[in-house]
């Protein structure tokens, strides 16, 4: 574990410039460039708000603000976006860099770290972007927003741990990636992001309570919309799960690493 971290530290320059590269190739040769950071979430939120709030008449209970629903939506989406980006990229990163892994010797763990880094960077930019959007709704940051870094940490630990583990299995059994793309969609709809937790029928609540993403997404929703601190009593199970997964992924990586390139 220590040597692994040391090797990562030694390759920090590579990790840095790779993260810059990921960011750059994302918006290379597009006219609006970084403006897309704001346009994307805004467009998505607008679509959901239009369809769900205006057409289907969805309303948030106990809140009487026309902008509340889009804000709720954007908060949840931001949290989910971070989770799914890290998970999906980690899932395929070893395969994506297969030929490099086969030909160049460098710490393999730096690949998921690059994914993590670039996802974090994207996420921070996104948060800045939606803050600007919130200004237009007349919604201003509150003191509870300070909890967001904790949310970022927990979500990314969870996504990283799960992503690296599944990513390793995906190298040997490619079905993992296929299955996960279906599961991720299902998971998204099982998590109260486009709908409030309260509308889940009582007999299905147990499912939401088992879902670690529910309290994690909720950190964002509570902070960004209600300016509320998270409920620690429901937060500790996913926090523990995230830590355990994270550690487990390192252990698995150590075991699988010698065989990883054989299967690529």
């Amino acid at each position: 574990m220590k040597t692994m971290l040391l090797a990562l530290w030694h390759y920090r320059h590579f990790i840095q410039s790779s993260i810059r590269g990921e960011l750059k190739s994302r918006f290379a040769r597009s006219r609006l460039g970084a403006l897309w950071f704001i346009l994307h979430p805004l467009a998505q939120a607008t679509i959901f708000a239009l369809v769900l709030a205006e057409v289907l008449g969805a309303r948030l209970p106990n809140i009487d603000n026309k902008a509340a629903y889009p804000i709720y939506l954007m908060s949840g989406m931001a949290a989910w976006g971070l989770f799914s980006e890290i998970l999906n990229r980690c899932l395929n990163i070893f395969i994506e860099y297969g030929s490099t892994l086969k030909k160049i010797s460098f710490p393999r763990m730096s690949l998921p770290v690059i994914v993590w880094g670039s996802a974090l960077l994207n996420h921070v930019l996104l948060l800045l972007a939606i803050t600007i959007v919130f200004f237009f709704f007349g919604h201003y940051p509150g003191i509870a927003w300070l909890v967001i870094p904790v949310g970022i940490l927990l979500i990314s630990l969870f996504a990283f741990g799960l992503g690296v583990m599944l990513g390793i299995f995906n190298v040997f059994t490619r079905d993992v990636g296929q299955v996960m793309s279906v599961i991720m969609q299902l998971w998204f709809w099982l998590t109260p992001i486009v709908y409030p937790y309260e509308i889940i029928p009582q007999k299905l609540r147990w499912l939401a309570d088992l879902n670690p993403m529910v309290p994690l997404v909720r950190i964002y929703q509570d902070a960004l919309l209600y300016n509320r601190w998270p409920d620690l009593t429901i937060l500790w199970p996913p926090a523990v799960a995230a830590m355990v997964l994270f550690m487990l992924s390192f252990a698995l990586f150590r075991k699988a690493s010698p065989e990883l390139v054989d299967a690529l």
Binding site: H13, F14, K24, S99, I104, F106, F169, S257, V261
Partner: protein, 415 residues
């Protein structure tokens, strides 16, 4: 000065397949699962590499060359044995890996330099050298996606060789770029070698092997078949290939090799259905044996073939090579339409080849091959590398250099 930079001891790499990946996963968690099938790509490889030594790995496809390079580079983990490296390894297994097409040449240097484990300040130091060596000029600050493939290769090679490593691993990438740049990269590698870098490279070009290497290892089926000097191993390898092709037809594989007192390696192979009974070089006039020929001397090369089994056709081919192994001349009786047909056991055939010695001073060898058609691959009766070695001296012509003597005369007039 004996300074070992790379030491391989009993290195083996096994690719295991399992009944299902589930078994593989179980094994990671400590369950005693046996692989269903094991494939040893390389096995029992032991050798050491001294500082400044250039070693070529040769062998047919699938012999394990690339696997071995990957093991030494560290991208694959060896199953058995150990690999000790004393210093930094730089591997050029594929040029341009890890480049980002949206980055400029300069930014890509930082990216791939980082991938090699260099820090930003180290790269700052070497970047002027890379810029000038790659000769990309104004393209150096343009995005990589607009580069031609030759330009990418130039950049990649410049980065890979910017810092002199203790061991440089090269996998057939020298054939990139135009011939000017190929020359330049060859020179660069030679300079490294002079400064003490050990070179390890895989190639199928025997010319490169002779030009650059001090030592050759022949791999077959993942094992070291031969380890020695370039002429010795390359001749053995060629004989082996010929025998392989032959073996499919008649399953007779014979290769014998020994080093003669004069330093030339003598390799003999074939089915020996027809063999060389005698091979001598004679003076045309006196019919006496010649060991040292004069430039311009009239000579006859006489070969007597003994037929040991009935054969339908016999073709004799000669290859004349200089000391470095370059072919000076070669042909066979198939090309000259002088095929001898229907030979019976016990027959003897005499071939006389009169010629004028228009060779430059030096040592040369004739390699005869008794075959059934224009290639030695179909039916190789006997092929002898460096069967006859002779020296050429210049006694009565004006001084000249090179492997050929031309009857060239200067014509000078002052105006």
């Amino acid at each position: 000065m004996s300074n070992v930079v790379l030491n391989l001891h009993n290195v083996g790499k096994c690719f295991a397949t399992y009944r299902s990946n589930l078994w593989r996963y179980l094994r990671w968690f400590g369950f005693p699962v046996r692989p269903e099938q094991e494939y040893w790509a390389v096995r029992d490889i032991s050798f050491t590499l001294q500082a400044g030594e250039a070693l070529a790995l040769i062998g047919q496809n699938g012999a394990g060359k690339s696997t071995l390079l990957k093991l030494i580079t560290g991208t694959l983990r060896n199953t058995t044995g150990n690999i000790a490296v004393n210093g930094r390894i730089s591997a050029i297994l594929e040029l341009g890996l890890g480049f980002n097409p949206e980055f400029t040449g300069r930014q890509n240097v930082y990216l791939s330099g980082g991938l090699m484990g260099l820090s930003t300040s180290q790269i700052n130091e070497i970047i002027p050298a890379i810029e000038s060596f790659s000769e990309l000029n104004e393209f150096f600050d343009q995005p990589l996606r607009i580069y031609s493939s030759g330009m990418q290769a130039r950049l990649a090679f410049s980065v890979a060789t910017a810092v002199r490593p203790e061991v440089l691993i090269v996998d057939e990438v020298l054939s990139v770029g135009d011939s000017y740049f190929q020359h330049k990269s060859f020179d660069k590698i030679r300079q490294f070698k002079e400064k003490g870098t050990s070179i390890l490279f895989v190639t199928h070009s025997m010319g490169d092997v002779r030009a650059l290497c001090d030592r050759v290892i022949l791999l077959e089926h993942g094992k070291i078949l031969k380890d020695g000097t370039p002429d010795e191993v390359v001749d053995y390898y060629n004989a082996l290939i010929a025998e392989k092709e032959n073996a499919e037809v008649n399953a007779e594989v014979n290769v014998e090799q020994r080093r003669k007192k004069n330093g030339w390696v003598f390799t003999r192979s074939g089915s020996f259905r027809a063999t060389v009974k005698e091979l001598v070089l004679l003076d045309k006039e006196t019919q006496e044996k010649v060991e040292t020929a004069r430039v311009g001397q009239k000579l006859v090369l006489k070969l007597t073939a003994l037929i040991k089994e009935d054969i339908p056709r016999l073709v004799l081919g000669y290859m004349l090579r200089d000391r470095t192994g370059h072919v000076v001349w070669g042909t066979n009786t198939w090309h000259t339409s002088q095929i001898v047909n229907d030979l019976k056991t016990g027959d003897e055939v005499e071939f006389r080849l009169p010629f004028t010695c228009t060779l430059g001073p030096g040592s040369y060898s004739f390699s005869p091959a008794l075959v059934s058609s224009d290639t030695h691959l179909e039916n190789n009766y006997e092929w002898v590398d460096n069967a006859l070695v002779f020296d050429v001296v210049n006694t009565d012509k004006g001084f000249f250099i090179g492997t050929n003597w031309l009857d060239a005369v200067f014509q000078i007039s002052r105006r």
